[in-house]
Symmetry: C2
Subunit: 221 residues, 2 copies
Amino acid sequence: MNRLYHVALSPFCRKVRLTLAEKKIEVELVEERYWDPSPDFLRRNPAGKVPVLRMDSRLMAESQAICEYLDETLPNPALIPADPEARYEVRRLCFWFDDKFNAEVTRPIMNERVWKKIRKEGYPDSRAVKSGLAAVKFHLDYMGWLLDQRRWLAGDVMTLADFAAAAHLSCLDYISDVDWNRSANVRDWYAKIKSRPAFRSLLADQLPGLPPSPQYALLDF
Amino acid sequence: MNRLYHVALSPFCRKVRLTLAEKKIEVELVEERYWDPSPDFLRRNPAGKVPVLRMDSRLMAESQAICEYLDETLPNPALIPADPEARYEVRRLCFWFDDKFNAEVTRPIMNERVWKKIRKEGYPDSRAVKSGLAAVKFHLDYMGWLLDQRRWLAGDVMTLADFAAAAHLSCLDYISDVDWNRSANVRDWYAKIKSRPAFRSLLADQLPGLPPSPQYALLDF
């Protein structure tokens, strides 16, 4: 059985979970307490990060490297198109979300509102939360602008860029930090992606002591 | 003429410069003062980051997306091999350096020792520098361990992973923060890569008011 060592509210793990589910690859999910690393954890990935995928007794780390590998070896359905210009745009947007959006929005908000609570590290720093909530507006506007011109974020077909973006937004949505009224384009896009069978496992996530916001699992939100 | 908007001591710009030079694509280098962004800079890349490559009147951002695009459209010489397992390993290591090494080593050290000075933002925080200098030892050991088993970082041929790693180490070497005596493997690997024609442009970099350390441009260091 394939196994994914993950953390439920990690956008990087969610991108891999969506990719695996879209390609109908079953995995056993194993929750990793990465902030309290065991020697086994560091043996699996010396970088000390999740996700780590064990597949055919091989261990793989780094979400983007894993997703590219899955798309190359299991190309049906393709999440990265064949044309080099289109591939560039998919990757540019994956990095947009995994680097810029993560640094400006996901990491500060989730650190303050979720991880500090779970690790019992004190109270949220409201300045960091405010800065994340201010930045998310710019990002929603940018997504809205892209979706004015395209059906999906990177073009006219759904790609890994949509999964990267949805992975981040779904973590924020779990704690109710997305204003879905800001852009009708973005809400429609998220409704489409949220209703895919690949999304079901994410919508079933429940953190002990931190239940999801009421709209989190609703397809009509 | 192709044009690369860059910052001389950015590892991400250096990875792209090495890739372009290895593929013999000439570019005009335009220094970008990204900390004092002009409207033109944000029009070129709404993410507000370097590098940005203008090629055939097209603008491209995100170093990894640019390098993958260049390798797909100009495959000679290939910097990412054809086999999916090998491609995975190249990408895993690119992210190792551009994410982990950058966060633990390059960013803290360069911020404190270079960028604060250039932007006139006060004195270096010695705790951040110390933490970076402690972390670089672990990374040099990891590289040494990989190079015990392989001729190059990701396998038996030179790949984009070697350029990613060399891009980071060359920035640190400019300010003399690499202990080349720690691992003979790593020193030999860096000597090999440093002697390539693609490296020459990097070795000629000179920052006003911040000359390189004496060994920076020496092939025998």
